[in-house]
Amino acid sequence: MNLTAKDVEEIMKLLEGSAFDRLSLEIDGMKLELERGGAGAPRPPRAPVTKAEPAVPTAPPSPPAGDRVSTQAGLVEVRSPLLGIYYRAPKPGEPPFVEVGGKVDVETVIGIVEVMKLMNSVPAGVKGEVVEIIGRNGELVEHGEVLLLVRPES
């Protein structure tokens, strides 16, 4: 299905009238994420809309994993450096590399991305605490897709 610009505008109005800061909507493989502007800054009129995957704005190219991209909440996005199947644990049945609340360092491996049986380990690229794990185990992730959020240690 497709959302028109008008649909998005209406959803934005609903968000504005609500008590929430962030809205995530997933319909039929399409995902829309809206976020309120911080400190009353005007938001661009068009919300980033991407298909099927967490919101990645189409204009700026997404940096490879390890690049420190601060989100509005001061969190760093750890992104997949390549397209492949994301695994949270070294092997099925084993504990995940990292859990929410766990500490990571720049070199800490946070997951594996498999490309046709070739396993690529993904380093956190940042020192801090894991706040949220976004990438889903065993599923395809795009190049540049956000795998987890880390609150950096200052």
Binding site: L83, L140, E142
Partner: protein, 451 residues
């Protein structure tokens, strides 16, 4: 197995082109995009776009494993490679075969058979398809005997050369021994391989190619030919069908030769056999076979009414050829111009950038295949072709008139293009007459610089 979801391993206009047919057939599409193409028209039109890597093709569109992984991971059952990039890499076709994915194209073995020039030439000879007269020579006596058969002028070519390098022309046969000795010595120094071969020099040739569809079981039909003689440095710029003023016996012989070549390979899918038509000798020679959908396929679609991408998919689905040769009708004529983002005033330098505004032509018999819309970006990493404008008419003169009118109403703002250059080419009296040779554009450039 029926194809329900296709991964498109390409970009630009051909990605959009494939999405359109897939949608018409009720097939879902997943488009593999590089970082530079995330915002492209194709990415917006596809049911899903997957970022496969950075802008540079070697990091994205040319990665076989990544493409196959993207297809498997997104639940696709087939891959359409488009043209260029991985379309004629046997490795992709092979990996698809190994992973149970349908490759919408020929088999890996067929790609290999036609991909190597010497092997393709041997296949042509085996299929009784004429090749450019010539062959390898080992001694001066050898060369003189062969040169006598070929006739002058001829070319001495280095086996290790290519792309215009390591080539010498012999105008008079008595000069052959001296030129041969020099060519061999130079080839040894330049390529580390002193071997040379002789080939007839075709002073005035036309590029004529035959569109084929094969079912992979030995049945092949042709969809007529295309004349692609308007070229600049071996790059096609204007293509049309039928080839104007081609003797009827030559046309029929080319169709038959192309069918023999492909049938011998039990070729599967859409493919094109390219010939050089030697005007002076009224003969044609095999050049190569392209094992993919070609850029200029729309002119064939216009005159036959056959959707070639739909046929590719049908063949890949095991439906075979859906019509017999006698059911293929050629209706009128069609001409295509390629619009490139390049600057004719600066020796056709690529001119990437952002298209601020664009107005494509429309009207009876006009088709535009493009991914360019207002605000579209033309990244510097890829081919500079941004659109194909195609005109169809009941005859060549009508098609040409429509095409000239269409170019006149086209506006592309924000980047330099060859639009005006192409309009000038269409206005050339020799082109209007039809049947120009591959020296047409070089000749026009010489005239322009003499003015």
């Amino acid at each position: 197995m029926t194809i329900r979801r296709i991964l498109i391993a390409n970009r630009g206009e051909i990605a959009v082109r494939i999405i359109r047919t897939a949608r018409a057939l009720g097939i879902e599409t997943v488009l593999a995009v590089s970082e530079a193409d995330r915002g492209s028209l194709g990415a917006r039109m596809a049911d899903r776009a997957l970022c496969i890597g950075p802008a540079r093709p070697s990091d994205s569109y040319l990665r076989v494993e990544t493409i196959v992984q993207a297809a498997l991971g997104s639940g696709c059952d087939a891959i359409h490679p488009g043209y260029g990039f991985l379309s004629e890499r046997a490795a992709l076709a092979q990996m698809c075969e190994d992973e149970g994915l349908i490759f919408i194209g020929p088999t890996a073995a067929q790609i290999e058979a036609v991909g190597d020039k010497l092997r393709a030439r041997a296949e042509a000879i085996a299929a009784d398809v004429p090749v450019v007269p010539g062959g390898p020579v080992e001694s001066t006596a050898d060369a003189q005997a062969l040169a006598g058969e070929i006739g002058a002028p001829l070319l001495v070519k280095a086996v290790g050369g290519g792309g215009g390098r390591g080539m010498k022309r012999v105008e008079r046969l008595e000069d052959l021994p001296a030129i041969l000795a020099m060519a061999s010595a130079e080839a040894g120094a330049a390529f580390g391989d002193a071997r040379v071969y002789l080939e007839r020099y075709v002073a005035r040739g036309r590029h004529v190619e035959v569109q084929l569809l094969g079912d992979g079981q030995g049945h092949v039909i042709h969809l007529g030919e295309r004349d692609c003689s308007v070229q600049r440095r071996y790059q096609k710029l204007i293509e049309e069908t039928p080839a104007p003023h081609l003797p009827a016996d030559m046309r029929a012989a080319m169709h038959a030769a192309a069918l023999r070549f492909a049938a011998r390979l039990s070729y599967r899918g859409a493919g094109t056999v390219e010939f050089l038509y030697d005007i002076a000798h009224n003969q044609f020679y095999f050049l190569e076979m392209n094992a993919r959908i070609q850029v200029e396929h729309p002119v064939t679609e216009m005159v036959t009414g056959i959707d070639l991408v739909a046929e590719q998919i049908a063949i890949a689905n095991g439906k075979g050829l859906r019509r017999a040769q006698e059911d293929v009708r050629i209706d009128g004529a069609a001409i295509e111009v390629r619009i490139n983002a390049e600057d004719p005033a600066r020796d056709f330098m690529p001119a990437p950038g952002t298209v601020s505004a664009v107005r494509w032509p429309a009207g009876q018999g006009i088709r535009v295949d493009s991914h360019i819309v207002d605000g579209a970006s033309i990244p510097p990493f890829y081919d500079s072709m941004i659109a194909k404008i195609i005109a169809h008419g009941p005859d060549r003169a009508a098609a040409l008139a429509r095409l000239r009118r269409a170019l006149g109403e086209t506006r592309i703002e924000g980047v330099s293009t060859n639009l005006a250059f192409q309009a000038d080419n269409l206005a050339d009296p020799d082109f209007a007459e039809g049947g120009v040779d591959t020296g047409f554009l070089a000749g026009r450039a010489t005239l322009a610089s003499a003015d």
